[in-house]
Structures are given as structure tokens and as C-alpha cells.
């Protein structure tokens, strides 16, 4: 009887742990997909991924190297979409993505590389930096609450002798 009870308990625990692991894997997959869509949105001056995956609210703030956009409309209309015309091209790469999930809140950090060319001046830029994403799970879907990016010019590679 005792053996049956132990086996039953272990089975339940194992099932619960497995379900939790799968849930977390699903959450990470969803958050990685959102990050990928954000990359697409920036590179193509397309506000749709932001409209879909960001949660707009009174007080929404998106920081970038000492500047900010206030609210989702400001981010999309005054930052994301204008870049389509202002830049000849923009390449954004996220790497070393780390996702931390705690119940209904998640934060993700990534290393960033951003390259582009300004149409008006013809100047190019090549920067490296970091990105922070803060997300909240709402009705089963992760939504971006806040972002913070910062970067600086890429350091020239040292010559090896």
C-alpha cells in the first residue's frame, strides 16, 4: 500500500515538473519570437509588430541611450516608422539573449549590434550595446511593457602582431 502511494506521489510530482518545464519552454519561445519580431520591425520601419506585441498604457516608456519615447504611438510614429525614410538600411542583431521568467513577469537582456546608413548625410554607423525588455503575461500572451537600449560605437579591432 505504502509502495503504491509513493509511486503515485512520484508520478504526480514528475508530471507536474514536466508540465512546468514545458510551460517555461513555451514562454521562452514566445518571448524569443517577440524579440525577433521587434528586430524585424526596426529593420523594416514597420510598426505592426510593436502594435501587436507591446502593451500600451498611461506611463509606457521606451528608453534609448538617454532619450525616450512616451507611449506606443510615440514610439511607432516618431521613431520606428520614420527610420524607414531616414535610413538607407538598418541591421539589428540580438545575441546572448537571456530570459528570466517569474510568474507573470519576465525580463530579457541581449547584446546588440546595430549598423546603418543615414540617407541625408550618407554617414554610416556601427554600434554595439545592450537591450533590456520587460514583459508581462496577459491572458496567456506576453506583452512588452518597457524597453531600454544603449550602445556605443564599435571599438576598432586591435591589430595582432
Amino acid at each position: 500500500m505504502l509502495r503504491t502511494l509513493i509511486i503515485f506521489t512520484l508520478t504526480i510530482l514528475s508530471f507536474t515538473a514536466s508540465a512546468h518545464g514545458e510551460q517555461e519552454h513555451g514562454d521562452e519561445k514566445q518571448i524569443k519570437h517577440i524579440i525577433d519580431r521587434i528586430k524585424y520591425g526596426w529593420e523594416n520601419g514597420d510598426g505592426k509588430p510593436f502594435r501587436k506585441h507591446f502593451m500600451d498604457f498611461d506611463g509606457a516608456r521606451y528608453f534609448e541611450s538617454g532619450g525616450q519615447n512616451k507611449g506606443l504611438d510615440d514610439l511607432v510614429e516618431h521613431h520606428v516608422e520614420p527610420e524607414k525614410d531616414a535610413l538607407v538600411f538598418l541591421e539589428l542583431h540580438f545575441s546572448n539573449i537571456q530570459i528570466h521568467i517569474e510568474d507573470a513577469m519576465a525580463w530579457a537582456v541581449a547584446d546588440t549590434e546595430v549598423k546603418g546608413k543615414v540617407r541625408k548625410s550618407g554617414k554610416t554607423f556601427d554600434k554595439t550595446g545592450f537591450q533590456t525588455f520587460i514583459l508581462k503575461k496577459i491572458q496567456g500572451h506576453w506583452k512588452v511593457l518597457h524597453t531600454h537600449s544603449s550602445s556605443r560605437n564599435r571599438k576598432p579591432m586591435k591589430a595582432h602582431h
Binding site: F63, G67, M105
Partner: protein, 155 residues
């Protein structure tokens, strides 16, 4: 040293949460929210500890595995920060003044996020400083205490 700049950002937030929009044509909507929460108090205590040079308190409020981004650099533990930039940050913050512009803290269960913006002005090592800084912090409740697990400073 440059990394200090962003850092000062909010440090002074704990000085005052009263904000005025003097000299502006249109009054800006300024948000100061969630500052009464225990998580926010940890953020403000951390600012104060940096400003006053309280190394022990600043270290205590950081999780051991805190990740700190500043000025394109990263520090991946509290020990690394305490032995590298914390002391220079403290010297810098003691030399300049910082005025809070906005600060919001959202608590979600045992996690919290702090988003803040401030204006820093002053002179340090013969250079004039005058800029807006941004700060994002993530906190987690660990063994009943709020700890800072991530900081992102930029300016």
C-alpha cells in the same frame, strides 16, 4: 569613468519626488508612481547609498548575480561592480547634482520593475556635465528581501 554618467541618473531620486515643469511652454505629464512600495524603497535606498558612499548598503541591496549595463559595458555580479565601478560612481555622484524627472515602479508578485529618468548637472574632474539619464531596474524578492537583479543605465 564615463560609465558613471548614466549612473547618476537617478541617484538623486531619493532626494525628492517633487517635480516641477518650470520654464516649459506646455506642462509635461510627469509620472511619479509606485514610490511607496517596498521595492521602490530599495531602489531609492540604493541611489542614496551611492550618493553618500555607503558601500556596505549598496552592496547589500544588489543580488549576487546582478547584471549591470552602463555606457555599453556590462558587469555580471555584485562583487565585480563593487570592485570596479561602484567606487568611481560614488565619487562622481558626490560631485554632481541630479534632479528626478520621472520615476515609476511596478510590482508584479515577487518581481518589480523601476523606470526612471533624471537630469544631472555639475562639474567633475574639470568637465561640465549636463544631461538626461535613464535607468531601468529589475528587482526580485529573494528570501523575503527585495534585491536588485538588473540595472540598465544610459544617457
Amino acid at each position: 569613468m564615463k560609465h558613471i554618467h548614466g549612473l547618476l541618473l537617478l541617484l538623486s531620486l531619493s532626494l525628492s519626488i517633487t517635480v516641477s515643469a518650470h520654464g516649459k511652454k506646455h506642462e509635461e505629464k510627469v509620472i511619479m508612481k509606485g514610490l511607496h512600495t517596498p521595492a521602490a524603497k530599495v531602489v531609492m535606498s540604493f541611489h542614496k547609498a551611492l550618493r553618500t558612499g555607503d558601500k556596505a548598503l549598496a552592496r547589500k541591496l544588489l543580488a549576487d548575480d546582478v547584471q549591470i549595463y552602463e555606457g555599453g559595458r556590462v558587469e555580471r555580479s555584485a562583487e565585480q561592480y563593487a570592485h570596479h565601478h561602484m567606487l568611481s560612481d560614488m565619487k562622481y555622484l558626490a560631485a554632481v547634482s541630479s534632479k528626478p524627472l520621472e520615476h515609476q515602479v511596478k510590482v508584479m508578485g515577487d518581481s518589480a520593475v523601476s523606470m526612471a529618468r533624471n537630469h544631472t548637472k555639475g562639474s567633475y574632474k574639470g568637465k561640465e556635465r549636463d544631461y538626461q539619464g535613464m535607468e531601468t531596474m529589475v528587482l526580485e524578492k529573494q528570501a523575503g528581501e527585495w534585491k536588485i537583479v538588473h540595472i540598465h543605465w544610459s544617457h
